[in-house]
Symmetry: C2
């Protein structure tokens, strides 16, 4: 059963649109994901939207039908609306065929079962939503369990981060903690904390990584605080053959993550 | 000798500002780079700007002095201007301390000496300027020689690509070619063309890479055309342990590039 929304002034349009801003997301506890590919990935990960919006003018893709059925089975609401309202919600001239609204999922540290995955991502004051989403995407690819955000990171539920994650936001747990909270939790069990840093000569291929490995990446321009580096079990760096001294934060994390995965699959 | 520019309506401000658009860049053959870090990287790579702009209100950083001296020695012009004009040029509320204007550097394929580097990057219809800049940045890090753009890629001299490259744009050669031009040039000499693709079961760690290796990455959403894959010497893929079937294009290229570098440094 679809509800048809035809007016820009409909309060629901305004409410959904507010999810593009962090303030709106925090007030509602909801976020917005866009596009057939990402919503289908979410569904594959067992997540149907609370609200599904699609355009009344687009041809009805079979994947849209699947999403509609899943949304209804999950007790969610389905809205059909003109393309220009979809545009208004998504903030893009050319919106995706579908928009889904989901509850934000924050996993308390205490609820993480570290034994369920060999790799966990940890990001500290990460600023760029594209980097955050890309780290989630790589996390999914290497079989990581989730991402732990330290201190003030960019919002993982922003439209940009969700888009860059290409659906991995739905397969990865998302947690946040202060550094002392994180370290206290980490040291309650097994876990090798590995920081990528410029302040070391340790080649990232030299250590034998011992899962669960927690891969820590710092702020894009400042790297990790010294005190945090001191808490790491290992600091490593990638060889840098050129003029530059560092890699993009998501690239560095991904190169590290594949090194750990490659070691594990050789054992 | 500085020229002081105080008026928004100064034609030079308008001209420099036009470099934020592709049309303006192509007309002038110039591009714009911003921030002390990137301009200093450029200088380290032997490139002084044709024009250097800095704010009359900022404290004069020693690196600014170095840039001023280098610009003058190179025969370039130095402009000092109020911060709000710098803002207008850069299009950011909070512009970097300096803006440099450089001639675009396109290297004809015929001028590339493939023997000078073990790795070369090749991108096909890459759409995202952040990905393009990040691939340049990784290219610098792994000791690649340059980037060859195939078909219609995003502009490597856009403000976003330059920023994401973090200065690597100045250390890497930039070329463009159609696919037939590229293949004809490639086959005139040694060179292993390696495509990352979903259409193969070849693990990316299995082959022994033979430099010069040309790492080919396709369009973000469509990957490589089949005909281009057929021209490759090797197609490889990274293991994907999760729900998603692909990595971010810049990440995939970077993970590949580090694999090649790691093999070479073990030899």
């Amino acid at each position: 059963m679809f509800r048809e929304i035809t007016g820009f002034s409909n309060p629901l349009v305004k409410r959904v649109r507010s999810l593009r801003d962090k303030k709106g997301r925090r007030e509602e506890g909801l976020f917005l994901a866009e596009g057939l590919r990402i919503l289908t990935e979410a569904l594959d990960a067992g997540r149907a939207p609370d609200m599904l919006w699609f355009s009344s003018e687009s041809a009805r893709h079979p994947l849209v039908e699947t999403l509609v059925a899943a949304t209804e089975a999950h007790g969610g609401e389905v809205f059909v609306t003109p393309r220009d309202i979809l545009s208004k919600i998504s903030g893009k001239d050319n919106p995706g065929a579908v928009i889904g609204i989901y509850p934000e999922h924050w996993t308390p540290l205490a609820d993480i079962d570290r034994s369920t995955a060999p790799i966990w991502m940890v990001a500290e004051r990460l600023r760029d939503p594209g980097n955050l989403g890309t780290i989630l995407r790589t996390g999914d690819a290497v079989g990581a369990g989730g991402l732990i955000l330290i201190d003030d990171c960019t919002d993982p539920f922003s439209v940009e981060a969700v888009r860059a994650s290409m659906g991995a936001l739905f397969t990865q747990s998302i947690s946040k903690a202060s550094w002392p909270e994180f370290i206290a939790w980490l040291r309650q069990g097994p876990g090798q904390l590995v920081g990528t840093s410029l302040n070391t000569d340790n080649d990232y291929q030299d250590p034998a990584y011992a899962p669960p490995v927690f891969l820590l990446v710092g702020n894009e321009s400042q790297g990790l605080p010294e005190a945090y580096e001191a808490d790491c079990d290992l600091l490593v760096k990638m060889p840098m053959m050129g003029k530059a001294d560092s890699l993009n934060a998501a690239v560095a994390t991904s190169v590290m993550a594949y090194e750990v995965l490659n070691q594990l699959r050789r054992r």
